[in-house]
Every structure is written in C-alpha cells, then in structure tokens.
C-alpha cells in the first residue's frame, strides 16, 4: 500500500507558510494593511506519500497549493523541496524544480489550452524543458502517456473540447506526468467530475502512485474522497491548520470542534443504516446526526467562512 508512509527524508516540507493580500487605501492605493489568506502552515510530504488538505471555501487550501507550485509568492515561511528552500530560488533554478513538481487542476475545461491538440498539450512541457524527451519522440511518448492514463492514443491530434470531462482530466494527468515529476499537486482535481467518472480518476491516481512512486498533495473539499485516498490529512480553517493527523485519527477521533462539525455535516448516503462516511464503523455521536436543527456555532462559522469567498 503506498499509503504507508516511507521513512526517508521529506520530499516537500512547508514551514510557517504565510500568504497575505494587501489592502490598499482608496485614494492613493497605498498598502494600508493586509488580509491574511494563509498563516503558519507547516507540513511535510514524503516521497510516495499522499497528503490531504481539506477545508471549506476560503480556508486557504488552494493558496497553499499555489504557493507550493510557485504561482503565488509567499510572504513568509519556507517551502523546502528535496531539502532546498525554493522560495529563495532564482527563476532559472525554479525552472528545474518545476520538472519535479506538477499540478492537476480543478476545472477540466479551463485547464487545457483549447487551441492545442492533446499531443501538443502533453508536449508543452518538453518544449520548455528541452532535455526531457528528444523532439523526434514527442508524438510517440505523448501517445504512450495517453495510453497510460486510459486514453485512446489515436486521438492525439484532437483538441481538448472533443473529449468528455473525465477524459480531459486524464489529459491533465498525462500532461502532469510528462515531465516525470516526483510530486503532483491535485487541486480539487476530481471535484468537477460526476461521481461515476470521479471514481475512475481516483483509481487512476492510485495506480500511477503505485507504479511510479509519486507523492500527492491532494486538495479537496470532499471529505469522502480525501478519506479514501490520503494517508495523512490537514484540516484548514480560516487560513490556519486546525488539525493534522493520520486519516484514521482525523476521521475517527477528531479533536478540534471545527473538524467535528465538518465531519458531522458530510451527507450520509444511507442515513437509515446509521453508517458513517467512513467505511470503518464509528461510534462518534456527531456522525449519527441526521438533518433537523441548526447548531448555533455553525451559524457563526458560516459567516466567518464567507468573508473569504
């Protein structure tokens, strides 16, 4: 099982990450304050491991992902990759890091350039990193990758819009794999998919991890997906990590009130069975709550969450 965390040195180590957006004055647009999106986030991802990042909208989970991949510059803290702090890297150095770290995006429509064929989408990374695959082999290797993610390689000349949502997400995965990364960040990678297709993609991700020894930083608001896939889970709320632990600890013995409320809110498919989200049986009373009354503490949280949306 790839979920069992290997013991060697962490592949990714994020410490005290802080990202804030400036608040500007209305007249001169001077920075008069800041709105903190993420504060003091610390975690590690070991090679081959899957770490889940859960939280509701505005919790800062995407900000963490985007900082790690370098789309946002953090205001404080360090992001270590393979033992080096990449927040201090020059653009040139970062470029080499980018090969090792790739991202699968949420929206299978917006994340693929509509003007490129599947082959070109997959080969885009090779255009940037010239030494990965020699130009003459691009088509062949791209087709191999398509096959690997379950796409018909004969369709390599088609454009993304000619595929269904699930197939596009497979293209997105093939594209991420093209540079042979060690870490893939999945930012809500299956959230936009229908449940029947989502299951296919989750299986694919698991297969690839087993085969290639990939590590995943898996970001989702869907607790059942995170529970299914991840070894360790961080719960983000209001930009801070409120709880961290193994998937069993978090789902079976949540400590923080927020985690508890979150788990309690997860819809249960067959409430009449009294079963929880988790396949493992749980005795936690919150799990058995069925609809009905509104807990006052949640009311106030909702207020708070939505400030960020």
């Amino acid at each position: 099982m790839p979920k069992a965390a290997p013991t060697h040195q962490p592949l990714l180590s994020v410490s005290n990450l802080k990202v804030a957006y400036p608040i500007r004055s209305s007249v001169l647009r001077r920075i008069v304050g800041e709105k903190v999106a993420v504060r003091d986030v610390t975690f590690e991802v070991k090679p081959g491991e899957t770490v889940g990042l859960v939280g509701e909208s505005g919790s800062g989970k995407s900000t963490v992902a985007r900082s790690v991949i370098g789309l946002i510059k953090p205001d404080a803290g360090a992001i270590g990759f393979n033992g080096h702090d990449i927040t201090r890297y020059s653009p040139r150095q970062l470029k080499s890091v980018r090969r090792e770290m790739q991202m699968v995006f949420q929206d299978p429509y917006a994340s693929l350039n509509p003007r490129l064929t599947v082959r070109d989408l997959i080969a885009e990374g090779w255009r940037v990193h010239r030494d990965v695959v020699p130009r003459g082999n691009w088509t062949a290797v791209a087709q191999e990758l398509m096959e690997r993610v379950g796409l018909n390689p004969d369709y390599s000349d088609r454009y993304a819009h000619q595929f269904s949502g699930g197939q596009r997400q497979r293209i997105g995965i093939a594209r991420a794999l093209a540079l042979k990364p060690k870490l893939i960040i999945c930012d809500e990678a299956v959230s936009a998919l229908d449940v029947s297709v989502q299951a296919q993609v989750l299986n694919l991700l698991q297969d690839l991890q087993e085969e290639l020894g990939l590590a995943y930083l898996f970001i989702s608001h869907d607790l059942s997906v995170v529970e299914h896939l991840c070894a360790r889970v961080l719960v983000l709320h209001g930009g801070e990590v409120v709880e961290e632990g193994s998937v069993h600890d978090i789902f079976d013995r949540p400590q923080h009130d927020y985690t508890k409320a979150l788990l309690a809110a997860v819809p249960v498919v067959r409430p009449w069975l009294g079963r929880s989200v988790s396949s493992s049986t749980s005795t936690h009373p919150e799990r058995l709550t069925q609809g009905g009354t509104i807990a006052p503490n949640i009311q106030s949280r909702e207020e708070r969450n939505d400030i960020y949306s």
Partner: protein, 345 residues
C-alpha cells in the same frame, strides 16, 4: 402520504391524489450542433406533502425537468415536444406561458442552484423578497416590506431588520440561498422545486439548508422536488427517488428501496462509485466509460455501452420502466435485466 405511481396505466387511479403529474414528457433542445432530446418520456407524480428526489449526473435531464414544469426552458432553443404536465388537474403544457407563470407565482416555487446569480445584483434583497407580495397580491410597499422581513427572519437571516436593505453580494452563499428560499415560500406554494439547492455551498452550510427546507416542509405541508447529483444530500429528506440517465428515468421508488436494492445497473454503479463505499485506500468500482452525448445517443438502452449486463437486446430495444419481479409495486427500473442486477448484489 399519497402514492407515486409509474406508467401511464396509473394515471386514472392517481389523478386525484397527485399534486403534480408528469406524463411521458419530451423536451428537445436545438443547438448549433443539432437537436438534442434532453427529456425522453419522463413520467412521475408528486403528491401533496411528499418529497421526491430527482437524481442524476450532468446532462441527465434532471434540471430540464424542473425548468419544463416552471415554463422556464430557454426559448426558443428548448421546447416541450410531447407529453403532459398536469398540476392539480390542469395541463400546463396546453396553457400559454403567461398563465403557467401566473400559476407558478402562487402555487409552485423554485429554488435555483447558484444563489448569487439567481438574485438580482442591483436590487435590495428586501425589494426582491417583497416583489411577489406587491406584484401578485397587490400589497402596498410598506406592507410587502414587512412581510419580506418576516420571511427573512423565518429563514434564519440574522439581523434581518438591518440587512433587509442590503444587496445580494453582501451576503454569504448560505444566506443568499436562505433569501432565495424566503422568496420562494413567500406566497406559500404547494410545491417547491429545488434545483441543486446546495451544490454551490460548503458542506456545513449545505446541511443547514437541507434542514431548513425540511423544516419548512414540515411546517407548511408543501410538496418538494429535490433535484441533485449528490445521492447523500437528499437521502435524509426525500421519501422517493427517481434516478435519471440520458433524459430518461431509469429507476424510481422509495429512496431506501432504490439505494439498498438498486434494480438498474446505473444506479448500482453510482452507489458503488462513492468513495465512502469502498475500503479506505482500496479500489473503487466505477462505471466504465463516459456519460453519453445527447446528440448521439447509443441505440437501444442509452446505458448499454457502460453496462456490465448489456446484451444485444440492450443495444436494440429501449427498456420500458417496469417493476422487477420480487420487488414492491412502487419500485420500478428501466432495464431488461433488473432481476439479474438484483440477484447479483
């Protein structure tokens, strides 16, 4: 609680008991790429006070069903080409849109998926909630405003007195949906259609909204149609479920029956695809393939390319919705091999 019946033979028996009776509804969409049959022979009944869940994935036609009832199909692209929608003995398909809307205003209400885009951004929420009172009941401004305030309090908007003059963008997602609900129940409708009411919301908020809807239903005795893609969300409040696939209802029955003993391979596939159904870290058992393109549906049963039970019969003959052997009279599935599916479990 009245029964919901299946098949055209049931019409005579249930006509009096049903609040809404949809029979063999056909809806087509004209698009640049061709004509898509969005609904193909959809039939269902809703009785007063009952909650029906219409479930399905994207493109299955579940939202179109709600739009068809409310005469909200985008004109002229979408149009009803067959079947009937009988509300309280009145066939809505035979009436001009104007009349349907008038009826909808007082009898049938709708809550939409995205509460932000469903509220007019440039009017105060009070204005929008009070509008039904003013336009439909002819109330004065002040009186309608008072009514709106009551409603906002009823749906749990804190500080309603001060916030009634705010604009939609000043509210959180959950609050917006509460406002939408307030607007919907303003004239005490007998039927509320909620189209993915919680999809855009966080889980904690989602739970509250579902609870609110259930409360309101208990209080007013209105019937509800809950349209959703999430099997879990509706499970707590719906008595009945109708599963849609490619414009057809493929399975229907009491929700526990449908979930616990699915008689259609698609329903079963859906339930099996939910991650919580599988062992942690284990493999899921998804439905193979992709949802069909409505412009090029496979022949026979639309699900046949993805179905593990499919035979040549499935590829040629469209299965009718029928009651599988050994099941209760109100559980029906549109599959040639329902018995095998049930036996395979």
């Amino acid at each position: 609680m009245a029964e919901m019946r299946i098949g055209s033979d049931a019409v005579t028996r249930s006509a009096a008991a049903s609040l809404l009776s949809v029979r063999d509804l056909q809806v087509e969409f004209t698009t640049a790429a061709g004509v898509a049959r969005a609904l193909d022979g959809v039939s269902f009944d809703v009785s007063p006070g009952e909650t029906l869940a219409i479930l399905g994935e994207s493109g299955s036609g579940k939202s179109v069903t709600g739009q068809a009832v409310m005469a909200l199909l985008p004109k002229p692209a979408g149009s009803i080409v067959g079947g009937s929608i009988v509300y309280d003995g009145l066939d809505l398909t035979a009436r001009p849109v104007k009349d349907v809307r008038k009826l909808c205003a007082t009898e049938i209400a709708m809550v939409f998926q995205d509460p932000l885009s469903s509220l007019n951004p440039v009017f105060q929420v009070g204005y929008q909630v009070a509008e039904p009172f003013r336009r439909r009941l002819g109330m004065g401004k002040r009186e309608a405003w008072g009514k709106a305030l009551e409603l906002l309090k009823r749906v749990g908007i804190p500080d309603a007195e001060t916030r009634i003059g705010d604009y939609p963008h000043q509210f959180s997602g959950g609050q917006r949906q509460r406002i939408m609900i307030a607007m919907a129940i303003a004239l005490e409708p007998r039927l509320l259609i909620a189209d993915e009411p919680t999809t855009a919301l966080d889980v904690t908020v989602q739970k509250q909204i579902i609870a609110l809807l259930a409360d309101l239903q208990a209080e007013t005795g209105m019937a509800m149609i809950l349209i959703s893609h999430d099997l879990g969300v509706v499970a707590q409040v719906a008595e009945r479920a109708a599963i849609m696939y490619a414009g057809r209802i493929v399975e229907t029955g009491p929700i526990r029956e449908v979930y616990d003993r699915p008689a259609h391979p698609y329903t079963r596939g859906l339930l099996d695809s939910i991650p919580s159904a599988a062992e942690i870290g284990g493999r899921l058992t998804p439905i193979v393939g992709s949802p069909p393109n409505l412009l090029a549906l496979p022949s026979g049963c639309s699900f046949n390319p993805r179905c593990p039970f499919a035979t040549d019969r499935c590829r040629t003959k469209v299965p009718a919705l029928r009651q599988p052997a050994s099941r209760g009279s109100d559980h029906a599935a549109g599959c040639h091999y329902s018995e095998e599916v049930l036996a395979d479990a």
